[in-house]
Symmetry: C2
Subunit: 196 residues, 2 copies
DNA sequence: TGTACATCAGTGAACGCGCGTTCACTGATGTAC
DNA sequence: TGTACATCAGTGAACGCGCGTTCACTGATGTAC
């Protein structure tokens, strides 16, 4: 029983991306991941990679792209069904941090290179969420784009600093606090888990 | 005139660290820096490195250590002579971001590994600065350590997101805004470059 | 001042290794008749 | 049902390269007499 069961057609591509993502986390950086190590991890010889990717760079790009998709999907899933705009914003931010922490090395790599292309989509979602809070009269600010940038910056800081072992788990509990201070300048009246 | 002028004794060590730091920025990551490349950059052969460092890892550790020293020195210099506690806090935060942006790849590497040891010192300085604002009645919060953590997180986000080309230069001008919102919950009366 | 010698920072050659990539190949799968 | 063949994903061997590290060495600098 030393023969490997046959692979579904097109399955290797996904396996390679998963193997590469696992190695990114294990080694802690994208730069340390080699094509041969990915092939090894996927149980395949190195040249097999070239049937699915033109080179190592393309494979790693696929890892980052999958990261952006996962990040966006996690946020959208967490926000689905939440009506209150402030709760939507908080839930989305929490999902962002959780998704980032789930694969910290990949997350870092996603925003490492200048002009990370996949981040824009998530940012626009965030701008809308902040604007919704403002339109509902739940924020003292009127600059949705600017506030969204501040929040994104803070969330990015939470994910990357926690990956360095700083402030965890303090920051988890204070995420709502962070969001409220940054965009809801005048304290909101209600607030599910606050001082109520 | 093809002979290199003699080097001051002990100078090569500093040259190697500087060469390594330059390569970290040029390649964008610590992992991509090789011992041979550092030696080349410093105008020396590879084995010469072993006279000053036991191995490549030690050399790179020295780069990060220098980064922590530079960060702390920049903050202390910017704060020197500033009396007003809020202005001190803002000046220190500005210096932190400026110093981080001056060597973004090195900065990222400094806080990449879990339990980055050199960050604690700077954090304590920050806690003191926040506490000073509170004692002067310039902050509505009483949790200096918690607020300092929020600010540090945000500053970290500013440095690393800007390195990715996001939000620059928007975030530079809004740094005071960020600090004020995070710790000076009740708006301060004065404020040098604000809406005055 | 001049000579012999110790010191020691940096050199040059060499090693074994894992890397990315190429190439001709193999052997299982699916189709045509 | 059975046979011949096309397809094509993955293999195994090989290449040249830069790497980290070792070793014996060299040649400049400083000291002792």
């Amino acid at each position: 029983v030393d023969s490997v069961p046959p692979r579904n057609p097109g399955r290797l591509r996904a396996d390679l991306v998963a193997a590469a993502a696992a190695l990114v986390e294990r080694t802690g950086s994208v730069e340390a991941v080699t094509l041969r190590a990915v092939a090894r991890e996927a149980g395949v010889t190195a040249p097999a990679v070239y049937g699915h990717f033109p080179d190592l760079g393309a494979l790693l790009d696929a890892v980052l792209e999958e990261g952006f998709l996962a990040l966006r999907a996690a946020i959208e899933a967490s926000v689905a069904g939440v009506e209150d705009p402030v709760e939507r914003l908080v839930a989305g931010c929490r999902a962002y941090v959780t998704a980032g922490r789930a694969a910290p090395a990949r997350y870092r790599a996603m925003f490492q290179r200048p002009q990370a292309p996949g981040g824009r989509g998530a940012f626009d979602v965030l701008v809308d969420a902040v604007a919704a809070c403002q339109e509902a009269g739940r924020s003292g600010s009127r600059d949705a784009r600017g506030d969204a940038l501040l929040i994104w910056t803070a969330l990015h800081g939470v994910v990357t600093l926690q990956a360095a072992g700083v402030g965890a788990p303090d920051l988890d509990g204070r995420l709502r606090d962070l969001v409220v201070r940054l965009t809801l300048v005048e304290p909101v009246a209600s607030g599910g888990d606050g001082a109520g």
